[in-house]
Amino acid sequence: MTDTKTIEFSATTKALVDRILKRYPEGRQKSALLPLLHLAQAEFGGWLSVPTMDYVASVLNIKPIEVYEVASFYTMYNLNPVGKCLIEVCRTGPCMLRGANDIIEHIENKLGIKEGETTADGKFTLKTVECLGSCGTAPMLQCGADYYENLTNEKVDKLIEKWNSINDHSTYMRSNRVEL
């Protein structure tokens, strides 16, 4: 068994977990798995390590494999470490029509990495994703919980400049909102 002692939700998160668990009928606490994985990812470094997942399993009193199965199914859970700033650019049809490929190329050149890679300083990870439901404001990217829409190369440059100063993991549960 993996040692899960070193990993534990903060008191604030624990209180939130208790509230979340009450949303479901008795005996259906596994329903909290997806929300808890989001919380765990936000709290433990922006990704889900095996000890993190085992900890979530112990909180919900389910088998670790049930957590691995779920975490590996959904795209929002990172099973490997990512940069502090996870940039996710949509590239599906409507975004592609409005120039998403150019935006991706621009970010790649700007950061000196290819999609799927992380910068050497561990600050940025660039990921391409499928439709994020922002087709009317394409091209777009998501960073943390926030959407950045109607992108141009100039807008991207400004965003990256601002994000450069951020030292905290941007995850879906934590916003690093940068106003343009």
Binding site: V50, K63, P64, I65, E66, Y68, E69, S72, F73
Partner: protein, 334 residues
């Protein structure tokens, strides 16, 4: 009770019977193949799609046909239902398509696969496959892994029937392996190096329809068609103790549970029987095992053939074929 007609043959079956099981009650060629359904594991079925059939009449009450082909393993019969399996060109075409899908990423390494000769996919491909692949891309590959000291997982060969996960859920109380990732990246795995260790875990090998999970104590020991299967039993405190010993001379090469004509285990066996008693003196041998499902093993008849039974079966098949075009002989055009 419900009256159902499958490929022109009428049969009365209890309510709640699936089309597949109704077809099995008829027997013979009208039985759809099944790669994921397993009668002794709850909730299996519906995934592989090789058992698709056409329902041309839903029931006596509502005679409308079903709009799509349905998975016969998970669709229950209704009184007055009319089903086409091998009499429907649409079904055969769809099945051929499914077999092609199952094969595009399969390594086709039958010559070195321990399952060869008793492999459901091999048989299915022989019946419905085409000799030439239309798939030009690289096949998906995974590393071989050991899950425990007795089972080898050869994910390249897996068709994701999920049976082994149901075994772990239903026969053991601590499932440590499962289906990870999604889409065509899905794989059976423990995620972390973890041994599947449980008294009944060995049954995963028996329910695997392909060579994805093989018995490490038997791997590369012998081609299965050179072994003699013998029914045997012992007093076992954990399971029924009813097994098949796969012998070469006096040597017990492998122990498995007993499978029926649809390659299904009705009585699961424990790991002790499977792995720890490879000595003929530990068993009471009942006699040669008759294997009637289609495979090369069944060609190896050395037991006394029940001529009466055989004659009856031939007559029954002839009766069924009367007035029907014979199925095309295998159209391998290689």
């Amino acid at each position: 009770m419900a009256k159902v007609t499958i490929d022109g043959i009428e049969i009365e079956v209890p309510d709640g019977t699936s089309i597949l099981n109704a077809a099995r009650m008829i027997g013979g060629d009208v039985v759809p193949p099944a790669m994921c359904y397993y009668s002794t594991l709850k909730e299996t079925g519906g995934k592989c799609r090789v058992c698709l059939v056409k329902v041309t009449q839903g029931s006596a009450k509502d005679p409308r046909p079903m709009p799509k082909l349905v998975a016969s393993c998970r669709t229950n019969v209704m009184d007055g239902m009319v089903v086409q399996n091998i009499t429907s060109p649409e079904v055969l075409e769809a099945r051929k398509g499914v077999v092609e899908f199952l094969l595009i990423n399969h390594p086709l390494d039958c010559p070195i696969c321990d399952q060869a000769g008793e492999c459901d996919l091999q048989n299915l491909a022989y019946e419905h496959g085409a000799a030439k692949t239309r798939y030009e891309e690289d096949r998906r590959t995974f590393e071989k892994i050991d899950i425990g000291d007795k089972i080898k997982l050869h994910m390249n060969r897996c068709i994701l029937c999920y049976r082994c996960t149901f075994v772990a859920d239903q026969l053991t109380n601590n499932r440590v392996h499962g289906v990870l990732n999604r889409g065509d990246h899905s794989e059976i795995s423990t995620y972390i190096e973890k041994a599947v260790d449980n008294d009944f875990s060995g049954n995963m090998i028996d329910v695997c329809p392909v060579g994805a999970l093989t018995d490490k104590t038997f791997r590369f020991k012998q081609r299965v068609w050179f072994t003699n299967p013998m029914d045997a039993h012992r007093d076992c405190p954990k399971c029924s103790g009813k097994v098949v010993l796969w012998m070469k001379g006096e040597e017990v090469l492998r122990v498995t549970a007993r499978k029926d004509q649809y390659a299904e285990v009705k009585e699961y066996i424990c790991n002790e029987c499977r792995y720890d008693h490879k000595d003929i003196t530990h068993w009471k041998v009942e006699g040669p095992r008759h294997i009637d499902r289609g495979s090369v093993i069944s060609q190896n008849h050395y037991e006394r053939i029940d001529l009466q039974k055989l004659k009856k079966e031939v007559e029954r098949q002839l009766e069924f074929q009367k007035g029907k075009p014979l199925p095309e002989p295998n159209s391998l055009n290689a």
